[in-house]
Point group: C3
Chain length 341, copies 3
């Protein structure tokens, strides 16, 4: 693809030779003379001068390294758009494979791509252009919109509802039983039936081996455009509002709400029955034990305002020193007031 | 279903019109005029007065909101029993689907429901009324009791033994290799063969995408009525005693014992070769590095007695203040004794 | 198997009767009169004297309990080698099962064992002696070396490259999309296409339900002989160098490097774009926020040098006491200098 054509798709301009033929996109340190690269993270700025790339995508204020430059407003977004030009998606063959099992009364929309080993249960309804990779299991009475993609071995339990353009990574489980047991006075436990469901909005993306439990009653909700990474755990009755981002291995206990556009780092944990406000940002590995107001930035276990947390972290490393200084002050007191330490 | 009939099943009494026809169970804030709701968590008491429900399940001391009331000893248990009346479980068709692969010498008990894509290996023995959803893989020589349910894509590795009435959620793996490698003096590592197995007792329930590793030798044991949530990791040689509860994303290193009726919150981690005592309760995200006595309540990383931990948490937030106060005390000393901070 | 034959395979010597016939290997406390056991962890030394084992494997300096002894340089390695003698691996039947789906142009090497429900996509190339358990999905254009073992329901996404003698546990996902979204100025997000791949070196072992994401561009790399446990998360663009060990539920954010022979405990988390040095050891549940030099031993959240961390942990428990002592010192000052606490 010609560099000038790429630049036009990106809404950018070429500085240098627009006739260069680009074969691939590569990182700065791996790119060769037929590759396009980019710089958006200043951490890698030192790699720019040494790159062997034919051309680089750069934002407004960054000096080029000598090769051709595609100048754009946002180098990271420009790179994303360029990648989309070079992506070669892999799809199952058109149609419904003979080695798939589709219930007679299930409805599958136009132009499906349904791979071997897929199972679609009774009364399920799936929209147009569904792409179901091998081993996907859709339980009975599920409803799914158009342009659905489920990678291999995804499981969608009964009666779950899924919107349009949803993408689910391999091995994820939507609609598993919530974890609820009632301790009995005479010993033992009574399983709380989980008769609710999960509702997933349009344009949601879910990673690999993530689990989203169905509600005890009512619905667990993942709103439009929310994005969940791998190995995330969403317990029964949670609501993830629109455009929220949950990074890998994060877990939410039951009935917690994550506000719109909130961003949770990896391995974050939240107690149940909380509200994490809109636009909240949570540092990786934090533990959330209380409601979090809109727009807060928090970190720590238990979590606190991020500035306080940073000061606490710095002071924590000085705890042994604090003990020494405290002891010294005590020893300097009049002998009569000393106590054992 | 008539309200009076529901109340009888729950062992409760109706206050108001027992002839009301109930269609569904819903949360207080979503229930409508043909729904039954409940209040057990005082956190939601404010929703009671505003509910549009036809009736509510309440414990002994809670004042009704004006609609009909089903009065029971334990509102949460009453609600669980009511849910069971309204649950509509979804099962694979009776029999063994033609698209399942069952080894000729495998034994499957009476009245199975075995879905498409299920694979049962040589010499496996499965009891009566087994429900195996699509994609379940039972390796050779597995032994399973009666009334077994495995949701889609569950994997049970070779020679694992499972009791009666066990329920395993989608994607969970029972009997994977333990993680053991012996570093060699000359470099490299030697894989420790994992020739033991896993033994799961009666009435155990396991969530989605959880992994329980087989023992190096001997057995990893999950005792009767223990309940494990999603994405839990039980390493080789652990023993989870009866009625223990492990919440989501909790992980145990090898050969650790979790005592009967212990409750581990979400994302808890434990070192290996420990004993966590009977009835111990562990706060979410705690890290357990030592044996824990029976009945202890602990939290923190590393974990400590919960009361101490709460005081530590409160004091931790004051660390920057502690440093300031310490410095001030030092500055107030006679100039001759000062040192740099 | 005769004890003397076992000792010879282990490169050890028998003390006592080498003619004893051994039937099984068992832990010290479970072994009976036809079993061989071992002691390597001093924690279990007390079990040695009471064991009913026919014989035990011991290192150079350990006194036997009276029964026969197999004396070796390294009791743990000796035990590992003995286990390998007694392992009875379970394999799918030789050949390609009729209920597997192999694309016409896929290449499968000599002597495969491919189980029912396996799907191999277009243009995939797999070496000799591949063992694919039921439900394994190999996407198109994947390249895999010789002696590959994939347990049930493993997913290998398109174009991933895997070396020789690689073992992947049930349910793991190799090559899922990295988690990358570009926030748009006008609201919403743009999915960063993930057009890179994953490359896995020789002799790598991966546990159950682990996820390794493909790079945005270029490669996520797991080098030779690295070992990953269950439920581990490796994000896009990471490099795990040779012989590194990652324990269960550990997670790495994008583009982080784990140096050769580093050992990460369970539930460790690392931020992205870091280098964790060669031979680094990380305590369980640690959070890594900065580069770590070669050979460091670290712990804590955020992580620090392990000796400092241990002192910090000890001092943290004393924080309530520190506050009391500080207050007392302040109260002992001249009244004129007091402030409220």
């Amino acid at each position: 693809m010609k560099l000038a054509d790429i630049a036009r798709e990106l809404g950018g301009t070429v500085e240098g030779d627009g006739e260069i033929e680009i074969e691939s996109l590569e990182p700065l340190d791996q790119a060769g003379p037929r590759d396009l690269s980019f710089l958006s993270n200043p951490r890698y700025a030192a790699q720019l001068s040494g790159t062997r790339a034919a051309a680089v995508i750069l934002g407004p204020s960054v000096k080029g390294p000598g090769c051709a430059v595609v100048r754009v407003d946002d180098a990271y977004l420009g790179f994303a758009k360029a990648l989309a030009l070079f992506a070669k998606p892999v799809l199952p063959a058109a149609g419904i494979d003979a080695a798939a099992s589709v219930a007679p009364d299930a409805e599958v929309g136009a132009s499906p791509r349904i791979a071997p080993g897929v199972v679609i249960g009774r009364g399920a309804r799936i929209g147009a252009r569904a792409t179901l990779h091998p081993g996907v299991v859709i339980y009975p009475e599920v409803e799914i919109g158009d342009d659905f993609t489920a990678h291999a071995n995804v499981v969608v339990r009964e009666r779950v509802r899924i919107g349009d353009r949803v993408l689910i990574g391999p091995g994820s489980v939507i609609g598993g039983d919530g974890f609820g047991f009632v301790p009995l006075a005479e010993g033992g436990v009574w399983k709380m039936p989980q008769v609710g469901t999960v509702e997933i909005g349009d344009d949601v993306e879910i990673g690999a081996n993530t689990t989203i439990d169905r509600a005890t009653i009512g619905r667990t909700v993942i709103e439009r455009n929310a994005k969940l990474d791998n190995l995330v755990m969403v317990a029964h009755g949670c609501r993830i509002e629109e455009e929220a981002l949950l990074a890998g291995q994060t877990g939410l206990a039951g009935s917690t709400v994550v506000g719109a556009r909130a961003q949770l780092g990896g391995q974050v944990g939240s107690a149940g029955h909380l509200r994490i406000g809109r636009g909240v940002r949570v540092a990786a590995q934090s533990g959330i034990a209380n409601d979090v107001p809109d727009g807060a930035v928090i970190g720590g276990y238990p979590s606190m305002e991020i500035g306080l947390w940073r000061r606490v972290v710095a002071a924590t490393r000085r705890l042994p020193e604090i003990l020494r200084r405290l002891k010294r002050l005590e020893q300097e007191r009049a002998p009569s007031s000393r106590d054992d330490v």
